[in-house]
């Protein structure tokens, strides 16, 4: 996996207890076209607090262009921004 740290548009839902479930996201590709990726499975979720900045990191799996890929997305709590961290 390569570090990308690309800002993405995200659709996610929250449980009553505040648990966050990412569903699908949309991002700009190199040729300026947009691609929507459905998150098929969240493999792992962890919280990081590096530099005192809390982020939720999800390791996910999706089929992109007929290839099954594993990648990491990050949610920055302070800014409410989502990033495609590694793919």
């Amino acid at each position: 996996m390569k570090i990308l740290m690309k800002p993405i548009k995200m659709i996610a839902w929250f449980n009553e207890d505040g648990t966050l479930h990412p569903v699908r996201f949309n991002m700009k590709q190199k040729d300026e076209s947009h691609i929507t990726i459905r998150i098929d499975r969240v493999i792992k979720k962890r919280e990081e607090k590096l530099a005192g900045n809390p982020m939720l990191v999800y390791t996910c799996q999706s089929i992109i262009n007929n290839i099954e890929r594993i990648y990491e997305i990050k949610y920055e709590l302070r800014t409410c921004k989502w990033y495609l961290f590694k793919m």
Binding site: I3, M5, K49, L50, A51, G52, N53, Y83, F85
Partner: protein, 419 residues
């Protein structure tokens, strides 16, 4: 270790500002770790705040020192990567570190933005202080991403001296029996509270190491330095007994602000304006703490040789009004200034007392009306932001109407002299 001895840890973040920035960048996908390359946190050169605030260890190898001008650092190391300071980030790091340390003891003292004292006497794991310190060190590194140096001893002074022994990402002990071996061979400048002026005097007396200071005749030191001599001698012998107190920040001794002006100030009027911008923040901070002051001081740094001088005065009636302090600052400035170009100006108030009961004086001007205005202005600024009301003489002046302070919420000093 003696059973009735305390166990104090001093936790010091390695190249704090730079580490915080490096970790933040790594978290945001940066592939280069600033700590692995010659890099530094430096103020903006355009506004002449261009000094090195923190540096990486590779930068240190080029002889770059904290506090030196950025252009000078660049001459030593042309490939130096500089990043601007981000005080909000430092406060986030500071707060998370504090939260993490609270898991180990409730007796915690914030010493500065990147230093903490922790009294772990009788806490779980205190029978194995080295292991405990390593657990803390590793947890900080894993959770927060930056490294710390931890000093372990039976008082705050030795713990602080201990954390200096080995850097980065290290733990050192400095218990009283270890003083002759570990602390005494160090140059006297390494002792806490020995600054440039004291070191010069000590060197003249033939005292070059902490050991020779510790073994010096106490009466001689008292004769040369008065009560300060006793303190130095105690510190050199590792004698210090203050408590790790979480409330030490509550007793403010003085409030001050200073700024480096982005051009050389050459006329009285501009200097007064800069002073006013500083007084605006000092006054607000004082009123928010519910305090009044009786001593007002200004400091001036010359542009030519960067030498520094100050002037102060004591008044009868305690005041907290911006205009009142400004009036005194103007007087002090006019008395002290020799007419040379100025690079840096500072204002400081001390001898603080609660602003509840004030003995008024028949011989000094009354500031009651000003107080009402100050209160109104403070409230407007609180509600609509610091820039909502400014003094009209700052319009088109090119000067900031309020100067000083690290950031909105920076309530901790970067350095302090009170243990």
């Amino acid at each position: 270790m003696n059973s009735n001895e305390r166990l104090i840890l001093h936790i010091d973040v390695n190249s704090a500002f730079l580490s915080f920035e490096a970790v933040y960048r790594l978290q945001h996908g940066e592939t280069v770790d600033l700590r692995d390359i010659p890099s530094a946190v430096a103020g903006s050169q355009a506004t002449r705040h261009g000094i090195i605030l923190a540096k990486s260890i590779p930068a240190k190898k080029y002889g770059i020192k904290t506090g030196e001008p950025t252009w000078e650092a660049r001459q030593k190391c042309p490939q130096l990567v500089t990043v601007p300071p981000n005080y909000a980030l430092y406060m986030f790091c500071h707060n998370s570190l504090k939260e993490l340390l609270k898991n180990f003891s409730d007796r915690i003292q914030v010493f500065s933005v990147d230093e903490f004292f922790l009294d772990v006497t009788g806490m779980p794991g205190a029978d194995q202080p080295l292991e405990l310190a390593h657990i803390i060190r590793k947890r900080i590194k894993k959770k927060l991403g930056f490294t710390v140096s931890i000093g372990i001893s039976s008082n705050k002074l030795l713990a602080k001296m201990g954390s200096e022994l080995k850097k980065p990402d290290a733990v050192s002990t400095l218990f009283p029996p270890e003083i002759p071996g570990k602390m005494w061979p160090l140059p006297v400048e390494d002792l806490y509270m020995v600054g440039r002026a004291t070191s010069l005097k000590l060197r003249k007396m033939g005292i070059g190491t902490i050991g020779s200071l510790a073994n010096c005749d106490l009466e001689l030191l008292k004769y040369k330095f008065k009560s300060w001599g006793k303190l130095l001698w105690d510190y050199a012998n590792g004698i210090e007994s203050s408590a790790v107190s979480s409330s030490s920040r509550d007793t403010v001794k003085g409030i001050g602000n200073s700024t480096t002006v982005h051009f050389d100030v050459e006329d009285r009027r501009t200097a007064h304006q800069v002073l006013l911008s500083l007084v605006e923040t000092v006054g607000m901070r004082m009123r928010f703490s519910g305090l009044c002051c009786r001593v007002i001081a200004i400091s001036i740094r010359r542009a030519e040789d960067l030498t520094f001088y100050s002037h102060q005065l004591k008044i009868q009636t305690p005041i907290d009004s911006t205009t009142a302090i400004y009036e005194y600052c103007k007087r002090l400035f006019d008395e002290a200034w020799g007419g040379e170009p100025i690079r840096h100006l500072g204002v400081r108030v001390s001898d603080l007392s609660p602003a509840v009961h004030i003995q008024l004086s028949m011989f000094e001007k009354e500031w009651e009306k000003q107080k009402v205005i100050d209160r109104a202005v403070d409230q407007i600024r609180m509600k609509f932001g610091p820039g909502s009301v400014i003094r009209s003489n700052f319009l088109w002046s090119g000067l900031a109407p309020m100067e000083g302070g690290l950031s909105d919420d920076a309530s901790y000093p970067v350095m302090t002299s009170i243990l």
